[in-house]
Amino acid sequence: MLSPPSSVAADRPAGPAGESDPDFVAFRDLVIEFGTGEWTVRALDRISLTFARGEFVCIVGPSGCGKTTMMQTLAGFLAPTSGRVEVEGKPVGPPGPDRGVVFQQPALYPWLTVEANAGFGPRMRGIGRAETAETVAHYLKLAGLWEFRARYPYELSGGMQQRLAIVRALANHPRLLLMDEPFGALDALTREKMQEELHGVWRRTGMTILFITHSVEEAVYLGTQVVVMSPRPGRILETIAVPFARQAGDRDIRAIKGSADFVATRERVLSLIWGMAHD
């Protein structure tokens, strides 16, 4: 694994420094079923997936294949029917600030200003005012929302709201960031800008991210790994490593998306998805 710029190391989550833990997150034979008796739906069928700290894992797959279910289990909103989900070798507990979630809708609090929304997590956890203000200011500036700190969420555009939702999750310094199609509702241009910004945050912080998307292109651009899932019941078809994911230097989004490596990887993922459709 290429090491990120040294200035970033301080921001990395606590843990044995530099030690790579291949099973940082582990889904082990995870089964999730909804309903009971005759009406049982098996949303996830013996999912096994592990990845190391610092990975950017993108999940793609047809609608209804269980992507959201998988993330909700890792977040702690759903309990496994059987199997386990572990972080650092320990089964995940109820939802908590160590696992930040960005939902498909921003789900902000309209009665709070942008700044108060961003600081909601630290405030709930009893972090001091000064420290909260500092963290919030940092991320709001990063997300280009600083001038809007005294406004309310309904005064922001959809893209700005989604950025605020990301800031809100980041303000807790989570070990893991879980994102469920966060850019699904954005136009193509805004979406690419957000992809760049998110990738920048990931590069600088070395955070571990699980990212769900319907866009293969988005997955291949952002991910260090792309997990392809198949539906009914939800299974993992294949995990593809993205060769250029950690290449050093400037990442010009247009140059990358036009590069031969990118196109080859994208085509590989797409052919898997097409193969599924022909079965």
């Binding site: 908590g96 979630v101 789900a107 009665w111 709930m124 500036k141 309904y154 893209g159 807790n172």
Partner: protein, 281 residues
């Protein structure tokens, strides 16, 4: 934490963030003047019809006669009461019953919203009271609690309470799951989720309930004063009608209408201030 400075994100937001304006748009101002002109027109037409004998003045006195009755009663009172005392009686009873309903109904409704047992326990009571015309059981309250203020305030409480309680319950039940899930993952405990997410989420619906409850209490207070009272605008109106003092009756009716408007306007102002996100969130 030491992160490299970042160029501000290029985004689609407007270049100059304008402050939220509280100024009234021009259209709103014009609408107000049109409304006032309408009122003046009706008053003029009314007075005119009485003046030319189109309407018999003893049955429907004109606005000038009504204003005269107001002026007279303002200075000389009506029977043994002063006008101020009658207004205060009516408004005081109404607000007492309403506030009692608020103090009991909001907490109970919130509790019913979060607790199944509480909901099961009180649901029938609330569902039973809500559509029940208060006047149907008023006579019982008078028998039990006398003809004084106590029975009236209880009546108004029973009128407003089921409305407030069911609004608070519906408000809590309607909190989007994503909002509480977001709070959970951000590290809020159950108490914080209730106080900082569910309560504000339910606020718009609670306020709607309060507005309806106040209107209901206000119409019931007048009816209650019709049945048994020695003060209050309802009593004054009924008493004056017995002596065919139609100008006084009309004066009472107009005053009731204006007070009702003022009461709901007050609550509306509070609503706009406290629940500023209502129209959008």
């Amino acid at each position: 934490m030491e992160l490299p400075a970042e160029t501000p994100a290029v985004t689609e937001e407007p270049a100059v963030p304008a402050r939220r304006t509280r100024r009234r748009p021009v259209g709103e101002l014009r609408r107000r003047w049109v409304g006032r002109a309408g009122v003046v027109t009706v008053l003029l037409a009314w007075q005119g019809s009485v003046a030319v004998g189109l309407i018999p003045g003893d049955l429907l006195p004109g606005p000038i006669a009504v204003a005269g009755a107001f002026w007279h009663i303002l200075w000389h009172g009506y029977r043994d009461t002063t006008l101020l005392f009658d207004v205060a009686s009516t408004v005081g009873r109404c607000l007492a019953g309403f506030l009692l309903a608020l103090l009991v109904g909001v907490p109970l409704g919130l509790w019913m919203g979060v607790n199944r047992v509480a909901a099961a326990l009180f649901d029938y009571l609330v569902q039973f009271l809500r559509p029940l015309p208060p006047l149907s059981y008023m006579i019982l309250l008078i028998l039990w609690f006398g003809t004084g203020n106590l029975s009236k305030i209880l009546l108004l409480f029973l009128t407003a309470f089921p409305i407030v309680a069911s609004a608070a319950m519906a408000g809590v039940r309607g909190v989007p799951r994503l909002r509480t899930q977001a709070a959970e993952m951000l590290g809020a405990n159950r108490r914080q989720i209730f106080l900082q997410v569910m309560l504000p989420s339910a606020a718009p619906m609670i306020f709607t309930g309060l507005k309806i409850a106040l209107a209901a209490a206000f119409s019931t207070v007048v009816a209650a004063e019709f049945v048994t009272a020695h003060s209050g605008l309802g009593w004054m109106v009924l008493s004056a009608s017995k002596y065919l003092q139609n100008a006084t009756v009309l004066m009472g009716v107009v005053l009731l209408g204006l007070i009702g408007m003022a009461l709901s306007r007050g609550l509306e102002l509070l609503d706009v201030r406290l629940v500023h996100w209502r129209r959008v969130g």
